[in-house]
């Protein structure tokens, strides 16, 4: 097992994460994308092939990879964007014969719902995570594929400028700062609290939620 510290620096501002994010999330996404873009028959099945060591408690397990710790530079600022819906588009499409008739239009709900979204962005001077690798080369390969961290990556927020992967014995302790399976012997009452959480990516998916232990801070 190889203890590693990963340090990211950024080219663009990040969308401020609303919850702590373990670093195995982006790695699993990179593994999925590599399989997807490589033409794999079932890319989702490859999402956990990331070269990270696993921490088991009974049948539950998580990757030995810490939450990402951000070093923020400067205050957050608001970012506003809209999902536009214009009735003119529908009129035009019906007029030129693209649609048989003009459909009903309701920009407040349903298919034509418009949206006005306000979020926060912030410049991070760096972001650091600690992990324990079973296959350090595979981890380095996937880290090399990462282009962005955080939300709105498709709008180039959180673009990674540089990544440093270094061996760091501290990772053998610090990987624990992450959601752990309930009953894990590496957690204590002063370090973790009982909560319902996902132990593996995708962390946002409610169906992944199980009783677990969330870190109280580094």
């Amino acid at each position: 097992m190889t203890p590693l510290r990963v340090t990211f620096t950024f080219r663009t501002r990040m969308v401020v994460p609303t919850v702590d994010k373990p670093v195995d999330g982006p790695l699993c996404k990179a593994a999925y994308q590599q399989a997807y873009f490589g033409g794999h028959e079932d890319p989702v099945s490859q999402q956990y092939c990331v070269g990270l060591a696993k921490h088991f408690v009974g049948e539950q397990w998580c990757f030995m990879a810490s939450n990402i710790v951000f070093d923020w530079a400067g205050p957050p600022s608001p970012l506003h964007y809209i999902k536009r819906q214009k009735i003119e588009d529908y009129f035009d499409a019906a007029d030129i014969g693209l649609m048989r008739k003009m459909p009903g239009f309701n920009s407040s709900s349903g298919a034509q719902k418009a949206a006005s979204v306000l979020t926060q962005t912030r410049q991070a001077s760096s972001a650091t995570a600690w992990l324990v690798a079973d296959d350090a080369e595979r981890v380095r390969e996937l880290i090399g594929r990462l282009t962005h961290l955080g939300k709105l990556a498709h709008h180039d927020f959180g673009a990674i400028k540089d990544v440093a992967v270094e061996q760091d014995e501290e990772a053998l302790q610090r990987w624990r700062s992450r959601p752990l399976p309930f009953g894990s012997e590496v957690a204590s009452a002063s370090s973790h609290a009982l909560a319902t959480t996902a132990l593996r990516p995708p962390y946002w998916q409610r169906t992944n939620f199980v009783p677990g232990l969330l870190p109280l801070g580094l």
């Binding site: 080219r11 501002r13 506003h80 964007y81 536009r84 588009d89 529908y90 298919a111 180039d156 169906t207």
Partner: protein, 383 residues
């Protein structure tokens, strides 16, 4: 679907286009400001009540510098609609029609607001990967991934150099901040009825009607003033208003940067054709009817991204001059892609895209037969 190439390995590309505004450009922000014409100062959200109301242009920070931008979401929306527009043109040439669901899906990404990520099966992912439009822009109720990254359109100034996805191609502007990159324009709305400039109104409308109108206006002004004095919000009562609008000045260089993970020549070709259509439209932001938001592309590049995501290499220039309609140069990658993209546009039918435009709240089985027939993309008689 003969547009699929078997020998095309997935590749990553970047497109760099340096544009220059040829007219004032305004992409409206949610924030409002105040413009004090006596000092020429624009106040941004700092509670100052001096001057007239001002609509601000969209801004973002780079370090401590607040700069005007073209938001990535604006560019991404235009690019998606440009690609959808190419498909619509092709459908119309072949007398094909689309359902409202498909129209929604292609234009804005989803046929409904409910997501169904759990239905993302391997078969669906394989189908999405093969379909050039869907693999480019993603979305749908299955929350499919987009293979396009659209960066914020940054003014090309010293402060933004380190933020750009790839280097600036044209010379940087020496301007440093908002005041030098933007200006404030006045919008005056006149009330021709009360201005009395048109001598025909007394005959056209009638003296009595005019007098009644003026009395009603005056009464409403009094009511509004009384409301304001008592602390309530009083509405505007006069048609004649003065507002200010903040715009990016004409002549500002702006960097548009796009990334694409390409699965097939057809997908890359559709992407390049959509970018070309966006440039040919040559307008971004509001007040198009007033001649605002127009730009020209002065230089462009196609770059290839290496195994390390952060290293790119220039392959070729990408578009010719604006006067010639931004033609593609001769280059093996571009030639193959554009040919395949055009083949795709000539052969795609609504039925290829309809499976991605389903609505979990209204399964296809519950639809009326006529709607089902429309969704299959059959030919219809020319109107």
């Amino acid at each position: 679907m003969n547009y699929q190439s078997t020998g095309f390995a997935a590749q990553r590309f970047q497109v760099a286009i340096d544009i220059r505004t040829t007219a004032p450009m305004h992409v409206g922000a949610i924030e409002k400001g105040k413009y004090d014409s006596s000092t020429g100062r624009l106040y941004r959200n700092d509670g100052v009540q001096v001057g007239v109301g001002a609509t601000l242009t969209r801004t973002q920070y780079v370090g401590d510098a607040l700069l005007p931008v073209i938001p990535a979401s604006t560019i991404a929306g235009k690019l998606r609609r440009a690609a959808a527009g190419l498909i619509y043109d092709s459908f119309l040439q072949r007398n094909l029609q689309v359902s409202p669901r498909l129209f929604n899906t292609l234009n804005t990404g989803t046929a409904t607001t409910g997501l169904d990520g759990d239905s993302k099966t391997p078969e669906l992912l394989r189908a999405a990967r093969k379909e050039p439009f869907i693999s480019l822009f993603g979305g749908t109720i299955f929350a499919l991934e987009s293979s396009v990254v659209v960066s914020t359109g940054w003014p090309l100034v010293q402060a933004t150099v380190s933020t750009l996805m790839s280097d600036a191609i044209i010379e940087l502007s020496s301007a440093r901040g908002l005041g030098e990159l933007t200006e404030v324009m006045a919008i005056v709305r006149k009330n021709d009825l009360t201005d009395g400039r048109d001598t025909r109104v007394d005959r056209l409308i009638g003296i009595e009607e005019l007098a009644a109108y003026s009395a009603a206006e005056a009464g409403q002004r009094e009511t509004s003033r009384a409301k304001k004095d008592s602390g309530e919000v009083g509405g505007k009562t006069d048609l004649r208003t003065l507002n200010a609008i903040e715009v990016i000045r004409a002549g500002v260089p702006i960097g548009l940067r796009l990334g694409v993970q390409s699965f097939s020549p057809a997908q890359l070709g559709l992407f390049l054709l959509a970018v070309q259509a966006l440039l040919r439209e040559g307008q971004i932001g509001g007040r198009k009817a007033k001649g605002q938001g127009f730009f020209v592309a002065e230089a462009s590049r196609l770059l290839s991204v290496g195994a390390d995501s952060r290293q790119s290499m220039a392959l070729s220039s990408l578009f010719g001059s604006a006067q010639d309609g931004y033609p593609f140069p001769e280059h093996p990658v571009i030639d193959e892609a554009v040919d395949a993209g055009n083949d795709y546009l000539m052969t795609v039918v609504p039925g290829d895209l309809d499976p991605f435009a389903v609505d979990i709240q209204k399964p296809a089985a519950q639809e009326k037969p006529a709607k089902k027939a429309a969704a299959k993309g059959r030919e219809v008689a020319t109107k």
